[in-house]
């Protein structure tokens, strides 16, 4: 009984903070509300006996991704100050699509009563997770590490500055014709 009351409370808190993420006028506040949502989801994981995943969620999502997203918000704003405007358009369309999706999925869940029957499996420990990752699914594990490497390098390559005026100071690229002719204009170019 207390477990279900606790679950209902946590679910309500998670849902409310998720709605704040998509409704908040200030983009930084929206990012902070996302952090709250992810933290509450970590608590739900702990209630679902997935304590290792709860820890990973706090470390990776709340500590990593929220910080990264707040950096993203702060690096791409036009105005000074703490308020980053986030406009909302097409609210009726969004409400209709989200309501239709939720209604459809909820009806499907309600029409499947055998979801709640059956025996509960034993609790998965971190030991099981480690064995599963490094014995049964070791190929997928390595592929994921490769994918992370490629994604991080790709992100650096995409976001790198490509300003031709911001090359190494003091270095002037000589035109090919000047190199073939006399050395005097080249010397003028090198020492501006």
């Amino acid at each position: 009984m207390t477990a279900s009351v606790g679950f209902g409370f946590m679910a309500a808190c998670t849902l409310v903070s998720a709605i704040f993420v998509v409704r908040s006028k200030n983009l930084i506040r929206a990012a902070l509300w996302l952090g709250a949502t992810l933290l509450l989801t970590a608590a739900l994981y702990a209630m679902l006996d997935a304590s290792f995943l709860a820890g990973v969620q706090v470390l990776l999502y709340v500590g990593g991704i929220s910080t990264l997203l707040i950096f993203g918000v702060m690096m791409t704003r036009k105005h000074e100050g703490l308020v980053v405007e986030a406009e909302t358009v097409n609210v009726p369309r969004g409400v209709f699509a989200a309501g239709a999706l939720f209604g459809g999925v909820a009806a499907a869940i309600k029409m499947t009563p055998e979801l709640d029957s059956g025996v509960r499996p034993p609790v998965v420990t971190a030991n099981d997770l480690g064995r599963g990752l490094l014995i049964d699914h070791v190929l997928a594990f390595e592929v994921v590490s490769l994918l992370l490497l490629v994604a991080i390098i790709g992100a650096v390559v995409i976001a790198r500055k490509r300003d031709p005026g911001a090359e190494v100071p003091g270095f002037v690229r000589r035109p090919l014709a000047a190199k073939a002719s006399s050395a005097k204009p080249v010397a003028n170019e090198v020492s501006p």
């Binding site: 998509v22 990973v56 999502y61 990593g64 993203g72 969004g94 059956g118 509960r120």
Partner: protein, 104 residues
């Protein structure tokens, strides 16, 4: 706390993310909504691994899949933020309709 309660919560979170994607105009806000949806999908994996016995193996497949999906989300956020910074540098703004032309 049963499996259907968890699934209902996860689908509600996913629907909130869909609403955010459809109504926000900043690319970073759309990324936040995508994070919400990925989080909801992870919640489904974890709750199924708690309430339903697995077909084979040690029964940890649901949580292992959730771990993989966490790593994929991290990669997606890194590349997405790089693209946001590129759009900002090219146009001086991060409205999502500007992303149709990213070459500066």
């Amino acid at each position: 706390m049963t499996l259907s309660h968890c699934l209902l919560l996860a689908s509600a979170l996913f629907a909130v993310g869909v609403y955010g994607i459809l109504t926000r105009r900043q690319i970073v806000a759309v990324l936040l909504s995508i994070e919400l949806m990925a989080n909801a999908a992870n919640l489904v994996f974890v709750s199924f691994s708690r309430f339903r016995p697995s077909m084979s193996g040690s029964g940890a497949q649901g949580q292992i899949f959730a771990l993989f999906s966490l790593a994929l989300t991290v990669a997606e956020v890194a590349v997405g933020l790089a693209i946001v910074i590129l759009v900002y540098r090219a146009h001086g703004d991060t409205r999502i309709d500007l992303a149709s032309e990213m070459k500066s």
